[in-house]
């Protein structure tokens, strides 16, 4: 292949990937830019969407990516005039935070046991963990509901948080990651007289930091978006997390919904930008070993 041909090929690749990336980012860009439009402007662009069949024929939503005038009024509306938004935001925090912290603790401990300790039936038990990870939430819905009922947890976050902490995804990811840490490191520690506990705390845990970071991020994304558990386990609307609440307000107040979406996305996107290197390393390490 000549150099000119190679350059042309790289150019084609570059353009193709660029277009694809732009298409993939489009939903985020649309949400972000539209959140800076005034209620009036949003109303004009999207009036066709209004009430379904009542909308005039031949009128369609107009996509605009640049606000006529940058306005923070939607954000003001969400943050100051709609106390419900902050309430549901706080609900999401209360559901998500305990789950990711608990999952990280339980997952690192059990992941270490599966990756570095020897016990009978280890691989079979791990296979069972893997299977439950693949089951959709609905599989154990009835007994989980009955257990929550018996424990008096219905309508309480405990009914969602407790199973969340023990979800096998955390164990799976940590086991995958820790399997990639060479055994030689632990052997060296054993010769020094350090027990497993110290080897775990001082050798494996520091080396597994990218894995833990990836777990926290993935679990955060997953739980920040929970839909099934709250709609089935939480009867009261005021206790619903933001994920469910936002989907409900999208219909009526479109402009507000754009701003609310942006605020809702912000923690996840910041965490992503901040921890992307860890996330990538964590995903990569967990995927190489079978």
């Amino acid at each position: 292949m000549t150099i000119a041909m190679r350059n042309a090929l790289t150019g084609i690749k570059f353009v193709f990937l660029g277009l694809l990336a732009a298409a993939m980012l489009f939903p985020v860009v649309l949400t972000a830019t539209n959140s800076f439009m005034s209620e009036d402007e949003i109303g004009r662009h999207y009036e066709a969407l209004g009430g379904g069949d009542s909308a005039e024929a031949g009128k369609h939503a107009a996509i605009r990516l640049i606000p006529e005038q940058v306005s923070l009024s939607q954000f003001g509306e969400v943050l100051l005039k709609r106390p419900k938004f902050l309430l549901h935001f706080w609900n999401s925090v209360k559901l998500t935070l305990p789950i990711i912290l608990g999952q990280a603790a339980v997952g690192t401990l059990a992941g270490f046991a599966f990756a570095k300790l020897a016990f009978p039936g280890r691989d079979k038990l791990f296979f069972v963990y893997l299977l439950t990870m693949l089951m959709p939430f609905q599989v154990t819905l009835v007994p989980n509901y009955l257990v929550a009922d018996k424990l008096g947890l219905l309508n309480h976050y405990g009914a969602i948080v407790l199973p969340g902490i023990f979800a096998s995804f955390g164990v799976f990811l940590m086991r995958q990651f820790m399997s990639g840490i060479p055994d030689a490191y632990l052997e060296a520690a054993k010769i020094d007289g350090a027990g497993y506990l110290r080897a775990f705390l001082h050798i494996v845990l520091p080396l597994a930091r990218p894995g833990v970071a990836a777990l926290i991020l993935l679990s955060f994304v997953d739980n920040w978006n929970m839909v099934e558990q709250p709609i089935l386990f939480l009867a009261e609307t005021v206790r619903q997390p933001l994920s469910v609440y936002l989907a409900n307000i999208a219909e009526g107040a479109r402009g507000v919904a754009f701003a609310a979406s942006v605020l809702y996305m912000t923690p996840v996107v910041f965490l992503f930008l901040y921890g992307e290197e860890h996330l990538v390393e964590g995903i990569q390490m967990s995927g190489i070993k079978g």
């Binding site: 790289t10 570059f14 990937l17 990336a21 993939m24 980012l25 939903p27 985020v28 649309l30 999207y46 066709a48 379904g52 939503a61 996509i63 059990a110 270490f112 046991a113 599966f114 300790l117 020897a118 016990f119 069972v128 893997l130 299977l131 439950t132 693949l134 959709p136 609905q138 599989v139 154990t140 819905l141 009835v142 007994p143 989980n144 009955l146 257990v147 407790l162 902490i165 023990f166 096998s168 164990v171 497993y196 506990l197 775990f200 978006n225 099934e228 994920s243 936002l246 989907a247 979406s261 996305m265 996840v268 996107v269 990538v280 995903i283 990569q284 967990s286 995927g287 190489i288 079978g290």
Partner: protein
Amino acid sequence: MRRHRQYRRDAPFVLLFLAPSLAGFLLFFIIPFGAVAYYSIIDNPVNGNLVGFDNYRALWASGSFRKAFVNSLMFAGVSVPLLFAVSLGLAMLLKGALPFRQTFRSMFLLPMVVPVASIILVWQTLLQWNGAVNGLFLKWGVEPVDWMNTGWALAVMLLVFLWKNAGYNLIVFLAGLANIPAEQYESASIDGAGAIRKFRHITVPGLAPTSFFVIVMSIVSSFKVFRETYLVAGPYPYDTIYTLQHFMNNMFQALDYPKLTAAAVLLAIVIGATVYVLFAAERRSRRALEQ
């Protein structure tokens, strides 16, 4: 014998490290699953009379179950291979030197963290009957499409699935590709192998363990599209995107526990069998690789 000694030495530590997880795992997953299996062969949780396979027969007789079951299998069967191909293709494109390679990677990964509810908003804006896409179609003289109430609904769902999950698999594949020793490609080039032969004989076998992980994670994600479809189309969406999760949610709301638990057991068996086959295939390819 050495193994037994290690078991004995490790035993207290196994307890210490595994106990918290195992306790919760038993309480919230294994015991409930046992209960599901039991509920699936009794008439109802209150009476508790054994009815054998009656619930399964009733389930199979239900048209909405058969529809949901077939739809779910179809969706997983189409979406997982499609996602596999798309993300592997992306990884091959991003493998070599390329300007802004890291930026591309970040951009492809970002959809993974975009919250469901935000997607709903964009989805409506674009794809409602009066949405922007139909507006464009009209302008171009193309017949507008009722996206969520025709066969297109499935295509839309597939697109959302690919959009959301391609980045994750891309990262895994990039790692897998980087793990294949460059010398293998070099010596193949010296032997005169072309790009296609190199792909078939070096890349494909070298990616076997990675592929296993990618497929498992993709199956998990293929069940998670339920969130998006549920929030967009509610509990009774268009026929082709009515999945097992819709069915099970609706059975739960209707308090039809016999059908729900029987469906849960069936689904668990299908997933278990699939993963078992994947595991066996992975082990075989690994052994072939080591020889």
